[in-house]
Amino acid sequence: MIDHATETDVADASVKLNKLRTTLNTVLFGQETLIDQVIIGLLARGHLLLEGLPGLGKTELVKGLARALHLESKRVQFTPDLLPGDITGNPMLQEIEGRRQFVFQPGPLFANLVLADEINRASPKTQSALLEAMQERRVTVMGEAHPLPDPFFVLATQNPIELEGTYPLPEAQLDRFLFKLSVRRNDVAVLEKIVMNREIGVEPVVNPVLDREEFLAIASLTLRIFLPGVVANYIARLVDGTHPGASAAAGGIKFGASPRAALGMAAAARARALLDGRLNASFEDVQAIAVPVLQHRIVLDYTARIDGRSAEDVVRAILAEVPAQDRPIPPTLQAAKA
């Protein structure tokens, strides 16, 4: 029997999360949706993959987040010659009390927030070193497992252009990321606001909003948000609809999403409900997080690529095709005109 969240718990958490949201909006202008999605991702205990052109504020967002949550953050610039040990840590031979022995020196993964910059520039060997860390939240060096700090999040970025010399992430590793978020460019009004309020090379001042314990408490509260059966059914039908033949919109898909995607959608829907101050997840929550959860988990076939359809287009088509309610409307009734 799950002890569902009470209205008081949710209201308190919502107040704190709104403060976090407001703080981050002062760091990154004009990216309200992206900031909400990042907060949702963290509440759902998921790793995030940020995709966007350089200079859009991805690194700034992660730094601001670390300061606002009062968490330890580290940044790794991925390059082709980066070795797995460079990120997980290496055993160093040290002389202790007259005896030489190997002592493990933790790498940059041992932080609460790890910014993996341009992750697709690292070799597959180094990329795969992240797999265990992201999934098991520990690293194993010389047969010894070292747990990572709690919370542990990987916020990876990748550049959609200049793909020469890069190593696209394999599907198995992409599946470890809860969200793939696209960072869009700003419009003129936002650019004007940035120019007026920022100086190049000067980082904005961010005061801590939550401490580590408060954040963990709120994250655990996310698990107690009620997920109605109809919403779970909707998630299942959406994920099933990503497989070829399961829906008309899945015509351009070669491989559909995994059950891990369904779990991720449920967790993200709960997190969004908590961020919105509600006791239960809803269809609207699922629809809001469907694209970031599913778009990197489906593999398009060549016809969709030639047709110029992106994974996001296909997911939106599936959202349009799969009705929220599993019970269809009789043909003698129709949607009323507004």
Binding site: V230, N280, A281, T303, T332
Partner: protein, 426 residues
């Protein structure tokens, strides 16, 4: 749960949604069945009205058919029916309540404040109302539109000649009181059985055959009766002329002739009147002296009168009478005879032969053969190529080795792929 009023309100709203959706599903299954029942009964009604025989149970039957369709539709639509949970979900979606009703119904949180607004659905008139209106219009039209009674325009007005002849002979036989009344009655019953058929069947092959047989049977009986009466009359005349001077030899000859005539009458196909037979059997040439000449003359006159009646009444030579051209056509009395060919007259309206069968028209002239007709057949040997077929290909082998510059590989795209490529290169 503080606000029970809100809970009651939303539960009632959800029940209304459930009711409407279930009615919609039931209608979706019921309407096709209703249309089917209506079409069947409308056709049946038209047919019944045409033959002026609408059964008393027609409308109750129609009502029963509609009820059966309704029950069938309910059983079929039952699996799609909404539950109360579906009703809450529907309201959540239409009112943008973020599944608050669903959660509250599950005991999580409270029901929201009362709010107006429907389930976001409305009846689709073209699907829900039009079929019902169409069915009503169909049944009404079938019940009210004028329907002409089915007429038999070309029903024959005159019975076949053989039947008329037979009837005439039977009347003559009854008037003459010579034949056995029971035999005559039996023949008349056979004739009535033929005439009581629908007029359209009078000239069917079987009816004409039966009529001809009856006529031949009657004709043969009359002819036999005539011969026997003549024999008896001749014997009586001889008896009258010889009178009392008859020798025993004469008496024996006369007795034999009389017996032959009586026996013929008795065993004839038409039999003989019992009184007449009794009188004739009472004549004994050996005791003819006991008969007065007046009695002999009266008996002989009756025989002659009978012969005259039979010979004058029935027209034994007139069996070729042919009403409506019977036996005057090309059929000429064959098995397919009938009223004959249709008169080739120029008329505004076509000739209705009252025929329901379609017969093929065949041209015997090859000069006028139509496309598709067989104009001849030829027997010849098959032209078989005796050289063994050797495609020279096996699985996985190259179809063409090709030389420099040749296209040796070709990819066939599906229509879908071709469309994609066209769009790409457009």
């Amino acid at each position: 749960m503080n606000d029970t009023g809100a809970e009651t309100f939303w539960r009632q709203r959800a029940k209304a949604v459930v009711l409407r959706n279930n009615a919609g599903w039931w209608l979706a299954s019921f309407l096709p069945a209703l249309v089917l029942v209506s079409v069947i009964f409308a056709c049946a009604l038209l047919i019944f009205r045409q033959i002026e025989m609408v059964p008393a149970g027609f409308w109750p039957g129609f009502a029963a058919g509609v009820i059966l369709a309704a029950v069938f539709a309910w059983a079929r639509a039952k699996n799609q029916f909404f539950t109360l949970r579906d009703g809450f979900t529907r309201l959540d979606i239409s009112l943008g309540l973020h599944n608050r009703l669903t959660a509250a119904a599950a005991g999580i949180g409270e029901f929201p404040e009362k709010r107006e607004g429907g389930d976001g659905l409305s009846w689709r008139c073209t699907r829900a109302i039009l079929p019902i209106a169409g069915c009503v219009a169909l049944i009404t039209a079938a019940a009210w539109i004028p329907v002409s009674e089915r007429t038999v325009s070309a029903a024959p007005t005159a019975m076949p000649a053989a039947w008329a002849q037979t009837e005439e002979w039977l009347e003559t036989l009854e008037e003459s009181a010579l034949a056995d009344p029971e035999t005559v009655e039996e023949l008349r019953e056979k004739l009535e059985a033929l005439t009581e058929q629908p007029a359209e069947s009078w000239y069917s092959h079987s009816s004409l055959e039966a009529g001809d047989n009856l006529r031949d049977q009657t004709e043969a009986g009359i002819e036999a009766m005539q011969r026997n009466l003549e024999t008896i009359s001749t014997a009586l005349e001889a008896m009258q002329q010889i009178g009392e001077g008859a020798t025993p030899g004469d008496l024996e000859v006369m007795q034999a002739a009389l017996d032959r005539g009586i026996e013929g009458l008795e065993s004839g196909a038409l039999g003989a009147d019992r009184d007449l037979l009794a009188n004739l059997k009472g004549i004994d040439p050996s005791t003819m002296r006991s008969l007065t000449p007046g009695q002999l003359r009266a008996m002989r006159e009756r025989m002659e009168q009978g012969m005259q009646t039979l010979s004058e009444g029935p027209d034994l030579a007139g069996t070729d009478a042919s009403p409506e051209g019977e036996s005057s056509g090309s059929s000429g009395g064959q098995v397919d005879r009938g009223p004959g060919t249709s008169p080739l007259t120029l008329s505004a309206s076509e000739t209705d032969l009252n025929s329901e069968t379609t017969e093929a028209v065949r041209s015997n002239s090859l000069d006028r053969a139509l496309p598709g007709e067989v104009v001849g057949t030829v027997q010849s040997d098959h032209d078989v190529d005796s050289v063994e077929f050797n495609p020279g290909l096996s699985g996985g082998s190259a179809q063409a080795a090709g030389t420099g510059g040749d296209t040796v590989w070709r990819n066939d795209f599906t229509p879908e792929e071709q469309g994609i490529l066209k769009r790409f290169f457009k």
